[in-house]
Every structure is written in C-alpha cells, then in structure tokens.
C-alpha cells in the first residue's frame, strides 16, 4: 500500500498561474524518488503541499491514508513532527550552536536531555560533523551547513524525508556525498523524496525519477541510463 498518494492535485495561485496540474503519484513506504524538471516546473510546490505549507486548489494528498490537505492546528504540527525536511538554504538558526540546531525537533517533542544528547550525537555522527557540535553555523562551509540541516531533519528518525534542492549550492563532489547520505537513510527504511534540477546527478543514482514540466508529470520511472552509470 502506498504511503504517500497524490490524487489529481492542482495548485493554482491567485494570479491564475498553475504550479501543478492534475498531478497523481504514489510512493510506497521505504522508497526513494527524485522530482526533477526546469525551474518553475512545480517541484518545490509538490514538496510544499506535502509539508502542508500550502494547500492544493484541487485534489487530495493522502499520507498513511490520511488526507493532509485540510489539517490545521495541533494535528498539523504533529504531522510535521513525523516528517524530515531539508532545504537549499538550510534554515539553520545562526545564533544557536550546531548542537542546539539539531536538537530543536527533539526539544519540541519534549524528550529528556539525556536522550536528546544521544540522538543529536548519533545524527551528527551520521553526517560526519560530530566534532563541530559546539560551533555556530556561520563558521561552517556551505556543504557542512547542508549536512547539519540533514542531521536536524533525520534526528527524529522520520518515516518520510523530503529535500528541496539540497545540493543547489554545492559542487559536484559534495553533491554526491549529500545524495549518498539520502541513499543511506533510504536503505534503513525511510521514504525519501528529493527535488533537484541536477539531472546528471540524479540519473546516476538509479532510483525513480518523476519529471515535471509546467506542473504536469511528463515522465515517471527509473532512468535507463542507470545501468550505464552502474556499468561505467
């Protein structure tokens, strides 16, 4: 059974522009997929709707069988606590240390300090930045900041991990490292959906690719070049 379902989802803005047009897609639990397409194709809107940062004009989005498009208040907050989200510009708090940034989602859930410390260090260890827990984000490189953002997204051990252009500001080598991290999280059962315009990078990953163009899905499947990449 699908964990995430988009059923005929359309998003039309007030100015009449349509970011998504009658989009339907399903994601099974533990799967990994890339959303790709040109700038303005609807990738970010797709993720925003899934994060309930915006509401679709039409259609339904079901997560674990629950329509999330009409949720509000505490229920919406609880839903977001069970998601992990990574963004191109990290959204790290500059006046808080790396440790404090990563621990934020756990503090919200009211976890004990001892457990917070254990979880935060495990997450930082996964992204290879354990030794930088006392530093402030401004003293880290862009790639390190992105990895802190990933650590914060996975520290709650979410079932679903969403990433919007997580490698947008990174060089190819760092981008591959970040993608490998997502792959590792997927391998332990997390559903991962990554929006990226870096076609070369995602086609080398050998996972499902959903290509959007002007708000519509124009391709959905595993790219054939994966085999070539693997062979190569």
């Amino acid at each position: 059974m699908a964990q995430i379902e988009f059923h005929g989802v359309t998003k039309r803005f007030d100015n009449g522009q349509e970011a998504l047009v009658n989009v339907s897609a399903e994601f099974v639990e533990g799967s990994m997929a890339f959303l790709t397409g040109h700038s303005g194709a609807g990738k970010s809107t797709f993720l925003k709707l899934l994060l309930c940062l915006d509401q679709p004009s039409r259609g339904q989005i079901l997560v674990n069988g629950v329509n999330v498009t009409r949720m509000s208040g505490r229920r919406l907050a609880h839903y977001r606590q069970h998601l992990g989200a990574v963004f191109q510009d990290h959204h790290l708090l500059s006046h808080r240390s790396v440790y404090d940034n990563v621990s934020l989602p756990l503090r919200i859930s009211g976890m004990k300090e001892k457990d917070i410390a254990r979880r935060v260090r495990a997450a930082l260890s996964r992204v290879g930045l354990l030794e930088k827990e006392r530093l402030y984000p401004r003293y880290l490189s862009t790639g390190e900041q992105q990895r802190i953002g990933i650590a914060r997204a996975v520290v709650t051990r979410p079932k679903i991990l969403l990433a919007d252009e997580p490698t947008g500001n990174l060089d190819p080598e760092l981008s591959r490292d970040i993608m490998k991290l997502f792959e590792q999280f997927n391998q332990v059962g997390t559903t991962v959906i990554v929006a990226s315009h870096d076609r070369d990078l995602i086609e080398s990953m050998g996972v499902r690719i959903i290509e959007l163009d002007q708000g519509m899905i124009v391709r959905d499947g595993v790219d054939t070049r994966v085999g070539e990449a693997a062979d190569g």
Binding site: L53, Q60, L83, I108, G110
Partner: protein, 325 residues
Amino acid sequence: MAEAQAQAPRRASDPWPPVRPGIGAWWRDHVRIGRETVHFISARLGTSLLVWLLVGIALALPAGLYLIQQNLSAMTAAWDGRPGLTAYFELGADAGTIEAVQARLSGDDRVAEVMVTDPDSALDEFRQFTDLADALDLLEANPLPASLKATLAAEVTVEVLTGMTEEVAAYDGVAEVVVEKTWLERVSDISAVVSRLGVILGVLFGVGAILVTSTSVRLAIEARLEELKVLKLIGATERQMRRPFLYFGAFYGLGGGLIAAMLISLCLVIVEAPLSSLIGSYSQELDLVGFDPLFLGSLLLIGGVLGVLGALMAATSRLRDLEIL
C-alpha cells in the same frame, strides 16, 4: 476525485500520534524559556527599561488614585464617628435660651457631649489664637456671640443630624447652626469622584499597558521570525511558539508593576510632609493606609496579567499569519 477517494481507504489509527511529554519535560521547557527570556531582555536592556517605564507609568496613575481614594475613605470613616453641630447665638441672647438648647440636647441619647462657650470665653480664645488683641481692646463691647457645640453619637445618621439642626435653628435667639458634617460630605464626594476617576483611568491605562506590551512583544517576534519559521516547519505547536512571548509579556508586566510601586512610593515620600501638615490642621495624624504588601502584590499581579494579555494578543495574531517559506 471521487474515484480517487474510493481507491484510497483511510486507516483507522492515527499515524501521527501526538507526543505527550511528561511534567518533567514541560517544566524543563519553561525553565529553558524563562532563562532565554531573561537573556533576551538583558541583552536589550535599554529597550526593556523603556517598556518597563511606560507600563509602570500607565499602572502608577490609576494605582495612585486607588490609594488616594482608600485614604480618603479611611479619613471620612474615622471622622464619621464624631459628627456634630455648633449653634451660634445672637449677640446678647439671654441665658435662658442657651440653657434651653443645652437642656434639649443634653437630654437626647443621640448626643454624646454638649459644650457651651460663653462670649467672654470665646473672646479669650480669639485673643489667644490671633494677633488682634490690641484691636479688640479698642472695642466697646464683646463682638462675639455665645456658642454651643454638640458632638453626636457615632451611629447618628445624616437625616437625624439634619432634623436636629433644624430643631435647634428654630429656637429664638439662635443665629446660625453649622453642621460639621458638611465638609466631611465634601470629602466623601471627592472620594467618590477619585474612585470613579480611578476606574476610568484604570481601564484606559490598563489598555495602554496592554498595547505597550503588545507592541514590544510584536517587535520581539519580528526579531525572532526566522526561528519561529523553523520551529513551525519542524512541527512546533502554536502553544509552543507562543510560550516564549508570553514570558516576555509577563516579564514586561511584572517589571512595569515594580516600576509603578517605586513611582508611587516616591510620590508618597514627596507628599508626606505637606500632607501631614494638612491632616494635622484637622487635629488628625497622617496614617496612610493601603500601601501594603497586598497592594504591592496586586500591582505586580495586575502588571503581569496585563503583560501576558498584551503578549497573547500580539503572538496570536502574528503567529497565525506566519508564512514559513
């Protein structure tokens, strides 16, 4: 779409059960927020002092009026125990008339004491309290009349006093009857005016204090907007996001209450000497009532509550409209 709904059966159990942190987590969160609020306020001490002053002044005026009203009430209550009247006789009034009035009042259970002052005694008192002794010697006759002062029992009502006054005034030879209640009634009226003024100003300045705190909290929210967006994104509830700002409101309000208490005590120190003199001229001692721990506690509590209300107003409206991305 209907087809899609049919194809997507809903699951009965909640896939995202609310996290229920224990009382320990709740307490830790409050301690952490309290510490962060103190840090935030102390880092912006100039602005915070300004807010405290504004809230303090807004609270001090109605609170000061309340204190004045309390003291006026206490004064009138104390003097209400000794209402009385003074009858001034016509010049040359015969002793029989004076004795008749004296007998009438002395025989009344409602009269506690009757004291007659003959013209010669009145002249002696006049000499004693004025510098006009030489001028009085030039007069051929004593210009002062005999008088009778009656002090009534404490429980006597204004109506009884009025009736008694009319009765005494009806005697032949009585020139004038002065009721000592009159000025007390004025004080009582002033007390009522001050009381109502206190209520009106209390409401107006209370709203002012709420608006001051609300504006200050709104500025604090704008300063931490990025953090709030992140918190909302990672699943903080509105209550969790609002909590730090309620602390701001409470701190601003409590600080304002403290400033108000300081301003009022400063005012009391300034007016104490002239007020003592004024009260002393009415043969009374200055005994300020109301400025006690209960009053100070109430001032702090009211300040804190108004601050929290202001913060609640600002945080609720701003956080509701918060756009994350």
